[in-house]
């Protein structure tokens, strides 16, 4: 084939990539205090320093990390089980898959809404307990949302992300199962062995990508932690959002600096992911680079 072909093929994404880089750099620059529109004309690290020196920063970081890591790991495990269930029961298309897609479509703010409807002290589960005589008033029901352990947020993210992981890795796992999986079983391997030694490892590329996506997303998004989280300590992304909507426009650099920190940590996470997966190249990632 033509030597020039790849370069033609990548032209659109290069164009978009350049636009993307421009945008990001512009945004980062604001975190260094350079926003001429507000008469902030010096490039400075002071915003970053101030944020890092604030005692609440570490608390926020802990909250964000806790939420993203726990929810993503849980979602990945449950997601793998769901994908497996879909593949092995033959439901790779059709109505069941549509229901799963529905969960992916629902916006996060709606998830917050019905999480409150179900899990709050005033929610459906509490009301069922009341009807069963287990509790006598709303206050008796344990507080699951707005707590420092961020349980409500984690559960909401898991609710949204399990279907996503399943949908994302379905194609690959289904294909592997149909070809190599079937071959393995025909050669006499048990179903269990086939799954754990062939199907699952070869499906990992998709699963791992899904994991990285949900990990970084849950770290950086603010809607769920804002609506379902405790007033203090706030997740990093919530803090950044509050600075962004602060009426005093001179707080913008704070928002941008915080976002810059989120960006740095996100890239660190991706970097760690890359290092770990590079090492595991043997377990089936024949063509895997990322």
């Amino acid at each position: 084939m033509n030597k020039k072909t790849p370069y033609i093929l990548i032209m659109p994404i290069v164009l978009l990539g350049v636009i993307f880089m421009f945008g990001v750099i512009n945004g980062i620059v604001q975190g260094f205090g350079y926003i001429p529109a507000f008469n902030l004309n010096d490039v400075t690290l002071s915003y970053y320093k101030e944020i890092l020196a604030d005692p609440t920063f570490l608390d926020s970081l802990k909250v964000s990390s806790q939420i993203s890591i726990i929810s993503s790991v849980l979602a990945m495990v449950l997601g793998i089980i769901l994908t497996t269930a879909l593949v092995y029961t033959g439901h790779t298309e059709g109505r069941i898959l549509q229901v799963i897609k529905l969960a992916i479509i629902i916006p996060h703010t709606i998830v917050a809404l019905f999480t409150i409807s179900i899990l709050s002290q005033n929610g459906l589960i509490a009301r069922v307990c009341y009807k069963l005589g287990l509790i006598s008033a709303q206050g008796d029901f344990p507080l699951l949302l707005y707590t420092k352990n961020n349980l409500g947020i984690i559960l909401s993210y898991v609710w949204k992300e399990v279907p996503f992981v399943a949908y994302f890795s379905l194609a690959l796992m289904s294909g592997i199962n149909k070809t190599l999986g079937e071959a393995s079983e025909n050669l006499g391997a048990s179903k269990l062995k086939t799954f754990f030694y062939i199907v699952l490892p070869l499906s990992m590329p998709s699963i791992r990508k899904a994991f990285l996506i949900i990990l970084t997303f849950s770290f950086g998004a603010y809607d769920l932690p804002f609506l379902l989280g405790a007033t203090v300590p706030k997740a990093l992304s919530v803090q950044a959002h509050i600075e962004y909507v602060h009426p005093d426009l001179r707080h913008r650099p704070y928002a941008m600096a915080m976002n810059g920190l989120i960006l740095a940590i996100t890239w660190a996470m991706a970097g760690i992911y890359y290092l770990i997966t590079k090492r595991n190249k043997i377990t089936g990632d024949i063509h895997e680079e990322f």
Binding site: I35, A37, T231, P247
Partner: protein, 423 residues
Amino acid sequence: MNSKGFISLLSLIIIALLLVTGCGKEKGISKTPGYNEMDAVSREFNPNVDFEQILEEAKGNIVSFYGWGGDENRNKWLRQTVAPILKERYDVTLEVVGMDINDILAKLAGEKQAGLEQGAIDMIWINGENFYSAKENDLLFGPFIEKLPNFEKYIDSEDEEVKYDFGFPIEGYEAPYGKAQMVFINDSATTGETPGNTDEFMEYCKKYEGRVTYPALPDFTGSAFVRTLIYDIVGHEQFSDMEADKEVVKKAIEPALEYLRELNKYLWNQGKTFPATSGEVDNMFEDGELVMTMSYGSYSVAVGKEKGIYSDTVRTFIFDKGTVGNTNYIAIAKNSPNKAAAMVAINAIISAEIQATQFEELRTLPIVSYNKLTDEEKAGFDNVDMGEGVLPQDELLAKRLPEMPANIVPIVEEIWLEEVVGK
């Protein structure tokens, strides 16, 4: 289908794509900043001409009114009552765009940085700290309000809330739009009491332990609620010229902070955490989890009853010493491409006629000066049935306290976060 079908499907898709982006581009271009067919006349809009001329210039234009889009009644009123009047009388088309004020300011700031002379935003629904910020950062056009004939005709130019917005001089950069005042809401069927001051309020919370709370600051409503409590304990005059220094403010509100910390014990979740938004607090009240809520919309009980959200026994009450009230305004963006039309539209909105419809349909307190109205116009307001379970206008206005200056409010919010939550 075979190869031919496939190719034709593909080409169909590509053509469709081009159409979409093509149409979009056109839509975009006619509104694209910088590309104004008829702007040769007024690159520099001059407001200092006869209003007649401004009316002429406004004819046939589209004016975009940007503001919070979450009030469906207001959206309806703007589109179905105000817009037809503007179109019929002044040939100005009103376009209502829902956008949060911070996103509006972000957009204007970006446009300023990029040097965009003709933006997309004409009128802005704004007040308080946001106005202060926007004016300070040169994002607004003005002064314009004195040029509006209806300003002279209907507005009391000496009114504090016409001269100052959250303590800062308006200097003609925004026109009053509607008035808001903090009110408290509870259900007489659940709780007979209506606490009239902070002492009674503390007793109230003790009695209904765990069933009262307020939105976490810096939520707009939560912030106003706390400020009302502060006013009740330490008075309000001292804040109007207070130095915007954290220590100074803290010292001034210390008694109130102690009160709030004491109050925490009896609040929902012992004050360890607060609901993030006023919407959540309202919902908890509607569901019976809380016995009380609060709102800036003085007649929200009537509105709620009409929506079927509140039962018949819900009623409004305020503190004896009063509650904070403010005015919200309409401003014009500095890079608005339709300043004439904006001025015409704003002029119409501050007229008694349209204010009366706002009063009637939205139960928003009007900003026109009652004394300046003709008898007929007065009747337009008097005859409105405000609904059940609300307080009469004169009682509200008699117990209305001014807002703290725009630069003090964030400091109070910061202190609350550090000194009250979970303490």
